[in-house]
């Protein structure tokens, strides 16, 4: 009776390596529809708060990282004349540095911010203010 033997080097070279390369390429190369556009994510939390910014998954951890973060504020206190009040995180009393670590189990949902959305327009207006980080 003939015994099946697996050539591990062959499997590694022609099965496992291409599978890993294909998956990594798909993760690393952004979809063509997003080329040339800023990808902002909306992170909606279980407590009702929403944060907008650049999302980065932290692999093998229970958190995500959000950078260049904006959140809603009472519109009456803003200066850019938009009906929507957004502020950039960092100006609070404790002056946090850029980069929020958000626990994944406190997130309700994550969505992509639309290119024509009022939120993106308000963020663009915030960035035009003198002294605002670009």
């Amino acid at each position: 009776m003939k015994r099946w033997s697996v050539d591990r080097i062959w499997v590694g070279r022609f099965v496992i390596a291409p599978a890993l390369i294909g998956a990594l390429l798909a993760l690393a190369i952004p979809a063509p529809t997003t080329w040339g556009t800023e990808r902002l994510s909306a992170v909606l939390l279980l407590d009702g708060q929403a944060y907008f910014g650049h999302l980065r998954e932290v692999p093998w951890s229970g958190t995500i990282e959000l950078r260049d973060v904006y959140y809603f504020q009472d519109a009456r206190g803003t200066t850019e004349g938009l009906p929507l009040g957004l502020v950039r995180r960092g100006g609070e009393l404790h002056q946090p540095l850029d980069g929020m670590q958000i626990r994944r189990d406190k997130i309700l949902a994550i969505e992509q911010v639309g290119n024509a959305s009022p939120v993106l327009a308000a963020i663009a207006a915030q960035r035009m203010l003198p002294g605002a980080p670009r």
């Binding site: 070279r13 291409p18 294909g22 998956a23 798909a26 911010v113």
Partner: protein, 129 residues
């Protein structure tokens, strides 16, 4: 011999590379939803319910494509505008979300299939872009 030792492994490797790329990029780490109905109701930990195509992805998130939700309308104190409910497609919010939601598994209470005859499923089928 050349075909077997050189060409065939290269073809296999190319097919696996393409398949792996497609699995991650186009199928977005989802398995085919065999035996499920067209639309599902996803109940979340904060009490919200979303309707749409539910995909059980590999990894920490599930995905809801073209989500809808029920919006309360009317005013209890206004007889001309009595309270009611309507199904709304997500997308007209201030951040104009783009057609799909990623939801951490920990925020999902449970998922139910919608019957094709349900008013919500029929509305979604008619309204979908």
């Amino acid at each position: 011999m050349y075909l077997r030792t050189r060409v065939l492994p290269a073809v296999i490797a190319a097919a696996i590379l393409f398949g792996s790329f497609a699995f991650v990029r186009w199928w977005d780490l989802t398995l085919p939803p065999l035996g499920r109905s067209t639309y599902q109701a996803v109940f979340l930990a904060n009490g919200q319910v979303f309707f749409g195509h539910y995909y059980d992805r590999i990894g920490p998130y599930v995905k809801i494509v073209t989500p809808y939700y029920i919006q309360q309308t009317g005013d209890q104190n206004d007889p001309a505008n009595p309270p009611g409910q309507r199904v709304v497609r997500r997308g007209d919010e201030l951040h104009a979300p783009q057609g799909e939601m990623l939801v951490p598994r920990t925020s999902v209470l449970f998922v139910e299939d919608l019957a094709d005859s349900s008013p919500v499923a029929q509305f979604i089928a008619k309204d979908r872009p």
